[in-house]
Every structure is written in C-alpha cells, then in structure tokens.
C-alpha cells in the first residue's frame, strides 16, 4: 500500500457567527491514497463542500491537521498553497466557473498563466487537454455557445491542463441532465484509469457508483467510509 497523498487528522472547521458557531466539520479523519476514486455523499449542509475546500487547499482547518503529500498545510505560505492548487490539484465546480468572455482555449490555458509557462507551451498543452475531453473542435467557442456538458468538459480540461494528480469535483453533474452526467462520469472513469486520484461530491447514488469508495458525512463527521 502506498503512503497517502492526503491525510487529515481530527479536522474541524468552525464558522464563528458571533452569537452562534457553525461546526461545518467536527472532527474528521481521512486518508486518501494515490489513484483513489472517492465519492463524498451526505445531506445538504453536512459539510461536503467545506471538506472539498479544505482538501483543495482553498481553506485551512480551524483545528486538526492536514498533511498534503506528507507536509503540514498549516505551515505553508499562501503562495505555496496557490502553487499546490496550480500544479497538484485540479478543481471542477458544479456551475463550471468559466470566464464568460474568454474562449474555450483561453479558459483552459488560464492555470498555465499562473504557472508561468510560455504562451506557445500554454496553447499546446491546452489543446492537448481539450483533445482528452473530446472538445478539440470547440477551441474558439465561448461558454455561452456551448452546452452544459461541453462547458463541464472545458472545466475538466482546465483542471487537467497542468497535469495534476488529484481532481476535486464538487457536484460536477449537479447542473447536468442524467445522460450528460453519465458522459462526464465516463470521462472521470477514464481519468481514474489513467492514474489520477479523483474525489467528487454528489447527491446521486448512480454517480457515486462510479467511484471505488464512498464516504458519507453527517453533521460534520464521517458517518461511514465504504469500498464499492
């Protein structure tokens, strides 16, 4: 068994709202190894998105420890975290989060701008990523000229473009019909086969069935953690 890429121990995320406090995560332990394919499920408000933000180094825990590839995230600077998000992690969002005015190609290129790559290299790698998600014929389209499924493919291409090992997807099929959702999941399956670690949040059992492991959250704690 290889050592975990992600390891969280006793992690809490507490939002202080003055009078009350919200314990979005209330003591979570989790290990994720390379090439894991994990679905996170749970009722609304159970802390799934909060967990994803922590895993994706977008947020830091209020308590507990997060080791990314063996290193304590709490000790990293903001720039180091940005670099991890840029190079090691790819994000896919429920509402795609594409730049509305930019072409497909430019949207996919964007992480490489922040990676400091030469424009020519950026273009080339963005095209490669678009080929992987089957959108090589839509390079110059803008998001509003694409279907929902196509937009999500663009977002996945953007997540893939800097060759990260971990893909984080928060309800990636949430805005898509079930057929398109299945197509997107087929893409994730394929990426898993190619060696990526995939963590996705979903409400649907059908979608979760694609994963190899299912973690259920309830009220900020892990209710169950099962192999599928």
């Amino acid at each position: 068994m290889n050592s975990p890429v992600i390891e969280i121990v006793g992690v809490k995320k507490i939002y202080d709202l003055g009078e009350t406090e919200v314990r979005a995560l209330n003591g979570v332990d989790l290990q994720i190894v390379e090439n894991d394919y994990m679905a996170i499920m749970g009722p609304s408000g159970s802390g799934k998105s909060t967990m994803m933000n922590l895993l994706g180094c977008l947020d830091t825990p209020s308590e507990g420890q997060y080791l990314f590839a063996g290193e304590d995230v709490a000790e990293m600077t903001d720039d180091e975290l940005a670099d991890i998000r840029n190079r090691r992690i790819g994000f896919v969002f429920q509402s795609f989060n594409l730049l509305a005015k930019a072409t497909t190609l430019r949207n996919v290129e964007l992480p490489l701008v922040y990676a400091g790559l030469h424009p020519d290299t950026r273009r080339e790698r963005a095209k490669e990523a678009l080929v992987k998600v089957g959108l090589s014929d839509r390079m110059t389209h803008r998001p509003n000229e694409l279907s929902g499924g196509q937009r999500q493919r663009v977002a996945i291409a953007r997540a893939l473009v800097n060759k990260p090992s971990i893909l984080l997807a928060d309800e990636p099929t949430g805005n898509l019909d079930s057929k398109t959702g299945e197509e997107i999941m087929a893409l994730f399956d394929q990426l898993h086969q190619l060696g990526n670690t995939i963590i996705l949040v979903t409400h649907e059992d059908d979608i979760a069935m694609h994963a190899k492991r299912c973690v259920r959250l309830r009220d900020g704690i892990v209710e169950s953690d099962k192999k599928i």
Binding site: D83, N86, L110, Y114
Partner: protein
Amino acid sequence: MKQLGYEIVESIAIAIEQVYEHRMRSLLTALGVMIGIIAVTLMGSAIRGIDVGFTSNLSILGMNTFYLEKWPWKDVGDNWIQYRNRPPIPASYSEKLNNSILSTENSSLIIAVPMVKNRRKISKDDRNIQGVEIIGTNADYPLVDNAEIELGRFLSEVEVLRGRNVVVLGHEVAASLFPEDLEESIGAYVNIQDIKYKVTGVYKKQGSVLGIGNFDKNVLMPLPSMRKFFVSKRYHSATIKIQKKEEASFEDATDEITGAVRLIRGLKPGQKDNFSINQSTAVAEEIAPVKRGIAIAGFGITGLALFVGAIGIMNITFVSVQERTKEIGTRRAIGARKRAILIQFLMEANMICLIGGIIGVFISFLIKLVLQRFIPEFPLIMSGQLILVAMLVSVLTGIGSGIAPAWKASRLDPAEALRHE
C-alpha cells in the same frame, strides 16, 4: 520572474477586456483624470511657452542692454507722483554718456544711443496705420539693437546730421503699406503728419511675444528730423539705450551708468537717484507672478480633477471587485497567487486612468491648435517631456485609486469568494 511577467501580460489583457466590455462606464469614470490631464498639460505648455517667449523677448530687448529712463519698468504703485516729478531725460544725455565712456578707463559700456518716441499715424496713398511708434535716433542705433535689416539700409550718419526726412520701417508697417511687393518700399515716400519721408530700409520680422511691445510696428527716423516736427515745443523725455560689454558684469555696468548720470545731474552724495536704469531682466520679474498664477490655478484644477477622478475610479474598481468575486475565487482555485489578483485590479484601474490620460493629452493638443489659430500671441509649447509627465501622472493616479480595491480583492478568502453568487 517569468511568472510575474506572464501575470502582468495577462492582467493587461483582462484590463483591456474589462474596459472594453464596460466602455461607457470606463469612459465616464475616466472623465476626472481626463480633465486633470488637460489642466496639467495646458498649464505646462503655457509655462513653457512663457519661458521660451520670454527668452526670445530678452533677445529682442537685448541681453546686454540698459534703458536709461525717467520711469522704471516695474509697477510704481502709489509712489507715482515721486516719479512724475523727476526731471526728464534729455536726448543729449547719450552724448554726455558717450564722453564719459570714452574717458573711463576699462569702461563696462560700449555706447549710448538716444531714442525719442512718439505715436503717429503713418500712411501711403489710401493705406494708413494708426498709432505707430515713431522713434527718433541716430546712426549708431544698430550697435545697440539686434534686429536685422531685410531690405535697403539703416539711416546714415549724414541723414541723421542733416535731419533728412528718411525712415526705416518695421516689418509689419512696411508689409501693410506695401502689401503687393515689399521691395517697392525702398526709395518710396510715406506720409507722417502730412510730411513725406523717404524709406531707406525695412526690418526683418521680429514678432511680438507675450504682447510686450511690438517691434515690427516701429518706425525709425533721424532724431533731428523728428525734433523739427513732433516734439520741438514740449520738453520730451527720451530713452537712452546703452549697450554693455559682453564680458562686463551687470553690476559694474549699472554702477558706471548711475555714477555718470549722477555726475551729469550734479546729484550730491546724500541725494536719491532721480532716474531709472531699466533692463530686460526686469521683465522677468513682471512675468514671474503670471507664471505663478498659472501654476497655482493649473495645480489646483489638476489636483481637484485628479482627486475626484481617482475617487470615481476607486469606486468603480470596488464595484468591479464585487461583481467578479466568484471569478476571483475561481482564479485563486486554479492557482493564482494573491499578487496576481492584486496586479489584475491595479491594472484595471490603471487602464482607465491611462485612457483618460491619453484622451486628455489628445484634447489638450486640440485646444492648443485652436488657441494658436485664434490667439497666436498666446504662447503654448507642448513638449514630449510634458506628455511623459502627464502619462506618469495618470499612471500614479491609477495606482493610487486602484490600490485599495485591488488589495481588498487579493485578500479575499478563496473559499468565500467561490461561494459568492
């Protein structure tokens, strides 16, 4: 370093996109900066124009020339009675001064020449000009004056001695009286007070700067011929124009003239000077407050407009940050550092300022063209340096107005920003 470079290029691209997308809003916001830049460029052009105009004025008045006169060139204010009661300066002082120069060892001065002035109408056939300044002088006048003769020659020794009715015309006078062909003027006769004068020469155009005297509108004639007709009865105060040696100091020259005139007038040691020694640098003192006025007004308008403009841009950039919070979250999620977000919004504010600045410089240029067309005496010089300064000012305004919203944008919590709808 390379990364920073690409981030900057990216931020420029975004800024252009954003400004283009909200072009109306950007343009309106840029208005304040535009007005500020117009104020600063026009002010700069005016001050530079006055400086350059003044330098050429100096050369017309003569760098090494003194004017011995009854009245000083400065504003006399309430003391005018005291000046009015001074005895007039007779034209004969020039000869006395020249004698003094000859008898002074190592004199600082070269020569003194008399000038008696009077305004008269001058005409040729049915053409006439009112209020031309007639100057009576002698044949040494070219020694104290930089102006060059364009056609013909200056008054000769004999003509002056005999008091012949001859004149040398300023360029504008000659051009008005002989509009077809300037050459016709030489040897022709013009009328002043019903007396015919033969034209011996015409001056080159000198131009008038800042409206201080127009040397192109002068007419010169032998002092005796002028005396005979114009100022025989009234005891008229003359101007003695004195040329100092190039290498002599202004102080020594002034001292020498003062000493000589006091001697001529027989003033006792305790008595005050009852004459004025004027000099072209006195004009500088006259002009300084004008320049200061322009600078104060210019800086005032510039400062106010830029301040208001900067507040507007700051506001619009805050709005932009608010509108694009989710985009900021997304950029952060895919690896943008804080600094990249900071640069992005700083660049956006800067782009608006720069556009305001460029339009401002362009409008100033148009204003300059229009002003020069209709008021040619108004000196405006727009240098490349000034345009650079204007651009620098817009960029500084951009940084000043963009820094607060850009800072706020860069400090947004990425997870929070992503939740923003």
